[in-house]
Symmetry: D2
Subunit: 385 residues, 4 copies
């Protein structure tokens, strides 16, 4: 068995060594000055990352918890939401709402497509009474590796002159794919620590627009832990209503420093460059991508598994022989695709190494692949030749 | 300013160096075999710690989140609970229930007392229709440093022949003060990572009796993140419905190993020995304790601040001159007491060092204290002479 | 600039994360029981690694220090040694001897060759008076990336019936290339921490045969720090005559555990497999190797730089654009070769990633290379097809 | 058995957590720009610490190695040195010189005394032919816990108008006790990493005056590893003639930052304050000190063990029952004293905790000690009352 050298599921991701060191800082007083200052600085840096002037809150929870927070803080029983349904994690967003007694209308999208802007606009135009309070959708659907056009979605909503809150799950895009929260009028953005932020799981982050805060005031869904107003009151002083996950805060301070050092623009560019090279590599070796290039994600890629190849064998061989951990297909895509995360701490030769592992895996499994051709295509892409 | 050497708030606590090292392990696949085995082993060890055969679940959250989980998983709107009210954190338990539309009856207890067993028994006997579904109470009320007699409470409930669920907040006692979950029939125990378990915050743990699982079945409060059934289904395979906080799991594996190595009995004995010495030390120097010895906590001690002394000055001098961080009084005890945590990774000479810091602080602030006498008393206590 | 992801100089090498964690253990008493046991265990494991029953000593020093130790402990002023001269580090061995007043005869070897066994045998046969006390030579000459045939060298010495001590520098081979100390009758083997042992620099290790201990008794060169007898007396009790480098001992315990877990045979096989693939990769892309395959090292490879390409540009581009740090040519090979270390913590996809960086670097510098062909050759080698 | 919380041998010492984190940085290229800059910065900071404009060199070795370096770089066979003999480590300095064929005259000093300045001056005055090339002495003799008056020693040498080099072992004083290298004309100062510098062992440091460099030019003792000129040539470019111990350099960068942050003056003051309190504490409990106050060290204290008490029992009880590791008496002081280090990362309450451990240990062993009185005396000393 080969040593695991590449954790390429679409999160948790590989952690930079300086962040790992930050994790081993001892506890400090969570209501003391030192921690307050750290929180205040981190929140400011998160605003840059979220490209927003909106309020930023954090929770000791996984990303799914923050998805729930967006529901219970802005809605009331019987309210209606339009939930984009285009994969496992966007479906989850709708499910959470349903579990809280919200009426959920699913806008079905083919799993190999992004949100159709016209269809969305049409639906909203039909909602003449504006009964849809909120639109729930993923920036990047992790299970299909497809990214939605948020600028276009904002335009569609505006064209329909619809007042619904736009609530976006950016868990697998934040820090990897540009998300202009303010420019695109995203009312709530939820993200978490273990993806583009290069930390381990357990800290989730949410930005909340003034319009969303208005909804918070009238929301009647019950909550305590997720209560935005309670967290807001405290976080303004660098505190929290309950004990915050310090270790992840220590790591976050360092990962935000790394992002700032590289430059946010450069971080996005790096992800785009690597993702492009990766996709060209996959095609170059003779495999098919699940998503068309125009909608393909820059943080994760979904690769079709040829019928004659066993999905489990692919995943196991990649792990056992080449030390590369990838994700399988979820739900109805199980056995049909495998997914490779390429977000966070990932660089040129990592992409080549992963492609090579895939080429060798398929070769080993007896599938006729163009050995070396995928890599050549990726190299040409990286070299821009 | 002195270097901070002692973090003596009642949590987060000092972290052993081997646990800090465990925190710096890289991410692994949260749905892979390696992590599943770790989870399975940890859950087994947690059962020993909780002294229970009940199901154990964990959440990526602070301890307060698990308090909420106990409410939303076992109750329905309009259900009635009896919430012991004897300090800030027991009050919080009632508040959380209220925020979820549960009818909360507060059983008021003087803040310098433990739950009066007769009074509790009487109240339950009066509840002839058994409308009280659940009793919420703290094992150890952190804000007053008072520990309730859980064995006695179980007896009181049994004497009243009352079927209410017994739900206990053990956040500041678990791993420090013995809690015989099964023997005492505690239906739900909630705990968290940053206290007796010597980790940083962000992981919470809950044990659930069969009787509580029955309540889960009929509960109609809305939930998604906290849903016990969903977590149970997954954790049986060493998995979770959402991404678990790996870093804390890596640390937990090590802190449970440390506890096992010392022996759980010895861990409890150490806390008792140190707490006794600490209280004798405080009295020996001429200060008064807020809680009587019979109910005083073994994980945290509350010390009365003489009227002529400024509480903030005490806390600041302890920090600035002696590197010791303590907690202030909360709510109506603000300015009247200060609280010293002595749980988790704490040993003989730590207790002496802290007492010395207190003696020197009061001396420095001009309060006439018996310099050296507190320490002498503590030393005699430790020496059993 | 790309993030540095591959430190591929021929040492210091990449450190496994579990070893990095071991480095952050606090100091312990260097003359206490805990450390004594650790030393004793480590020494036993080192014997397995060195494939020897000989005494093993360690020094707080870089590897060069242990080279000096071998000289000053076994020789006297005016003694004669035969020093193989085939590169920078074998020359250094002779230089150290000269600096201590030993008469050094250099056996010159072309830098692109290994030791000629016949030539060595002939020279020794001519030494009828047996004036040559010691033969100094490298197992693996790091500056040329050439490995000597130690079994053959032992045979040559035996054929000449020569009693000289065989002293071997295994700094860049230990833990990467098999060295049968006892079977091949190597009297002194010197190694250090930062290469195949995957640690940082500062700990050196030496094995000493009974025959060498005889020489120690009569040696008249002055020494104190390097005194083998003084270290031997102490190390038998797990102690040292002066303070040992604990941090590296903590790391060594872990790196030896990793080697044992993989299996020493497998470690050697992995290095051989990767080195073969790497060389095929280099040739596949159209570059030339400095050393013929039969003598090429399995821990480092020297690659010829075509005349029309600037060596510095190669090294800088590899670093700046691809995050790969390699070594340049030393001394008379400066500008003519570059050297890529592939020892210690290195695995399949690392080799591909490094080859890809080299392919892209030469392409970027305008040198016509067979893009993708080197990698294809390496992949076929790894796949054994 | 109590957890070890205090490593109070006179080195290795307790390591600050931020330094431990620095130890877990991965290797970098030891001949690359990043490391060169780090070395250059560290050397500058070391000059401040050594209070000198002299050249500073470092070695991958324990402190004893640097003692040897001072001998072999400045002397020739048959040269005469005057070695102060006042304990185990000053004797070692003379022994090293003897092992290298230097003529060593020992200036015997009672082990409970410091160097007698008049006696030294007289001896030097008698050396009319100036045959004494070098004076070897400890700033702080670790085995007796006595500090020499270096300013006075310089004056004695000047009074005798003697040209001998002044070579000082500052291993257990550097970073703890002020040493004005330039003002006091100390030609060579040797120090190491694991004491006042709060690192682990393995890095040694030496400062060399212009006058000493003159001696280097004419020295005929053989050397290679310790060769000052070779190290100097390289270190001017932030490099070394052989691989440097990076891990300790990463740690040193951080420990020097901590010293700078506290202020060197404050560091010395802290050591003096704590040492004074500690000595008053020892006397206050009724034990005797081995060294008079005027010559007592501020980095380590030697405490007399009453005849009726077993030294081993003291050391074992301190460890087993109170988690405190101390040093025993060495050589002829074995069984007669024990030694407590209080240098590096040590603060107010640590001193009290250690004193308390000592009080309780003697009480437990049945020796009639004034329980609490030692601590009271120390507290009064810290409070300056």
């Amino acid at each position: 068995m080969d040593k695991i050298t590449h954790l390429q599921i679409p999160g948790p991701t590989n952690i930079p060594d300086s962040v790992l060191r930050a994790f081993s800082r001892p506890n400090i007083k969570h209501r003391g000055e030192e921690f307050s200052e750290l929180v205040t600085d981190v929140i400011e840096d998160l605003k840059d990352l979220f490209m927003t002037e909106n309020e930023i809150l954090t929770f000791p929870s996984s990303g799914s918890g923050t998805m729930e927070s967006a529901i219970v803080n802005t809605l009331s029983p019987g309210d209606k939401v339009l939930a984009i349904s285009q994969g496992v994690f966007s479906n989850r967003f709708g499910d959470i709402a349903e579990d809280h007694g919200v009426e959920v209308e699913r806008l079905e999208v083919d799993w190999n497509s992004a949100v159709n802007l016209t269809k969305l606009e049409d639906r909203l135009k039909k909602d003449v009474d504006k009964t849809i309070k909120t639109i729930l959708l993923p920036h990047n659907e992790t299970s299909t590796a497809i990214t939605n056009d948020l600028a276009g979605i904002r335009e569609a909503i505006d064209n329909a002159n619809h007042p619904a809150l736009l609530v976006v799950d950016a868990i697998s895009s934040m820090g990897a794919i540009e998300l202009k929260t303010d420019e695109w009028g995203v009312d709530i953005v939820v993200a978490s620590s273990q993806k583009g932020l290069m930390l381990s799981p357990g800290l989730s982050i949410v930005s909340i627009s003034d319009k969303a805060w208005e909804a918070v005031k009238t929301s009647k869904l019950s909550k305590w832990y997720w209560d935005y107003e309670s967290v807001r009151e405290n976080i303004h002083n660098g505190r929290f209503p309950y004990t915050p996950p310090q270790t992840l805060y220590f790591g976050l301070e360092e990962s935000l420093r790394l992002i700032k050092e590289e430059g946010l623009e450069n971080v996005f560019k790096r992800h785009a460059t690597l993702a492009t090279a990766f996709r060209k590599g996959i095609r170059g070796m003779g495999l098919e991508l699940f998503a068309a290039d125009e909608i393909a994600s820059n943080s994760v890629t979904s690769i079709c598994i040829p019928e004659e190849v066993d999905a489990k064998a692919v995943i196991n061989t990649l792990k056992e022989d080449y030390g590369i951990i990838v994700g399988g297909g979820l739900s109805k895509l199980s056995g049909k695709i495998f997914r490779v995360g390429h977000l966070g701490a990932i660089y040129n030769v990592d992409i080549i190494g992963i492609l090579s592992g895939i080429e060798m895996t398929f070769t080993k499994l007896g599938y006729n692949i163009n050995l070396g051709q995928g890599i050549k295509a990726a190299q040409k892409s990286l070299l821009k030749i």
